[in-house]
Amino acid sequence: MVSAEHKIEDSRTKVTQRSVWYKIKRLCQRYPLGAIGSFIVFIVVFAAVFADVVAPYDPTQTNAKMSLSAPSAAMLFGGDMMGRDVLSRIIHGARISLAVGIGSTVLGGLLGTIIGLMCGYFLGWFDLIIQRIIDMMQALPLLVMALVMAASLGPSLENTIIAISIPLVPQVARVIRSNVLSLREMPFVEAARSVGMSNGRIAFRHILPNTLAPLIVLGTAQLGSAILTEASLSFLGLGVPEPYPSWGRMLSESAAEYVRVAPWLVIFPGIAISAAVFGANLMGDAVRDYLDPRNQG
């Protein structure tokens, strides 16, 4: 009897195990571009998490002998003007890019969700005023907005995250609000209200979980654009300051002066940014197709 029960349990776990891999395989077949994108994002995350182990050198270690050295066996991607290893700086730069990307997406998403929920739930003059402010904020181009914010907050990692998250807030707030507007008329909300649930509880326990899909779509789409904006800000000298190795700043340091003598200083960090953003965008597209089938294409 006992052994038979064991057998049943064994076969059950096997089935679920296989089905997870099977599911992943199916997803990869259905969204080949999304699979490629997720793989690229996975590599960036891996580089960021294990930067200390993976990077061949200390990214801040200067070495006068290797100054502007061409790519070689010792330094695969060459050395920069201070003889620092470009490859190690790119690997450590993944940390900054991801920190800013994820940090600003979470912060902007959180603020936008709260504002959107409140607007959609309370309506009235509160909603009216917030909606007008959102209209106005959306009329400023993202980079201009981020530049102004970065300039007024001053350069630091935290401020860069804040500066990039602010332009996201109106987008999220708008999507959440329109979702709440249709959800609040649903029978299950009426039911919750009729059993005497408080407004806050209805908003967070019943309405919020139903707005998760568009929120995830927006968040994954934001990831790539946040990485790109961070690189642009750092390139212009308004992003993450020294000593953090940021991909955008690596390009601005090398830009004009070294374009002739050391093209690898321009090529490799650029490839890193492009690949990370490309991967995030591919992944975002697949996530959107998966969660919102109406919006195919």
Binding site: M137, A139, L140, P141, A151, L236, L251, V266, G270, V277
Partner: protein, 314 residues
């Protein structure tokens, strides 16, 4: 129609007034003022000197008074003085506008020239190898940082022509002038064309699922007639909005490209002003950008009515 236009123009002024408050507040988010920042970087603080400068710049006044002074001056066209050059801001900004406008127009021209037809092709050949290639190209257009693209173009110039095209105030012929703007606007236009292409594609796909397309097919219309006469005309409407928004948002790409190519346009000037903490210039320039965005949005809405006879604003 005219009532609608008047209503929209009034709303536009209200929006701009609100934006001026937002911009003003955003630039003063952090406690401490411009003088603090100036003295911080100088390293030493002489309190009396600080007070003099604050008074000179009007920073000792309460914040609502400062805003009121700024906005009333702005309404009569007085943009204040640059902290750095001490010239009137309008004299600094004015000559730079045509440079940026030419760049923006050329970039937009490129982006429509490539984005629209490629988007249609991608939709008509959905899920073929060509569609995948075009989609990857358009996605890479959204992923390549524009400053990197600009740097790569510069590198290509160096290796093929042995020199970087240097901006001159007075190009000799029209051809020289075009050449000068061509590379930077290609760098900016790539991203915009990728966006237009993506949107054209999804908009076309949406329209091609409609019943009237099936009707057209069943009555035996040729494929070209369906694609270009029935589908594209309807699909192009949402694309107009994106083109309008892109036209206004091109400034983001221009900021980067003008900096890399060292072109003395408005966008480059904004970055310089921000780096030098020249707040009167930053404030006025951001407001100027806001005005352009709002006006272009308004014009896009009007273009809607012209393109689609079904839309009649009343």
């Amino acid at each position: 129609m005219s009532a609608y236009v008047i209503q929209r123009v009034l709303l536009m002024f209200l929006t701009l007034l609100g934006m001026s408050v937002i911009i003003f507040v955003l630039l003063r988010l952090v406690p401490g003022n411009i003088v603090d920042i100036m003295f911080d970087s100088a390293g030493f603080v002489d309190p009396s000197e600080k007070a003099t400068i604050e008074k000179e710049l009007g920073l000792d006044l309460p914040i609502y008074q400062q805003y009121f002074d700024w906005i009333t001056a702005l309404l009569v066209g007085d943009l204040g003085f640059s902290f750095v050059s001490e010239m009137p801001a309008i004299d600094e900004i004015g000559p730079r506008i045509p440079i940026t406008a030419k760049l923006a127009a050329l970039s937009l021209f490129f982006s429509i020239l490539f984005g629209l037809p490629l988007g249609v092709i991608s939709a008509v050949r959905q899920n073929t190898a060509l569609d995948y290639v075009l989609r990857i190209i358009s996605l890479s257009g959204l992923s390549l940082p524009s400053f990197w693209l600009a740097l790569l173009i510069l590198m290509a110039c160096v290796s093929y022509m042995g020199a970087i095209p240097i901006y001159t105030e007075t190009p000799e012929t029209l051809w020289d002038e075009l050449l000068l703007y061509l590379l930077p606007s290609a760098a900016v236009g790539f991203r915009a064309s990728a966006l237009i292409m993506r949107l054209t594609r999804s908009s076309m796909l949406e329209v091609m699922r409609q019943d009237y397309i099936r009707t057209a097919m069943s009555k035996g219309a040729t494929e070209n007639a369906i694609n270009y006469k029935h589908a594209l005309r309807n699909a192009v409407l949402p694309v107009t909005t994106i083109i309008g928004i892109e036209a206004a948002f091109l400034i983001g790409g221009l900021i980067i490209t003008e900096t890399v190519f060292n072109i003395p346009g408005v966008a480059h000037f904004l970055v310089e002003a921000i780096l030098m903490r020249d707040y009167p210039i930053v404030q006025s320039l951001v407001m100027f950008i806001a005005i352009i965005v709002v006006v272009i949005n308004f014009l896009t809405d009007l273009a809607y009515a012209i393109l689609d006879p079904r839309i009649r604003y009343s």
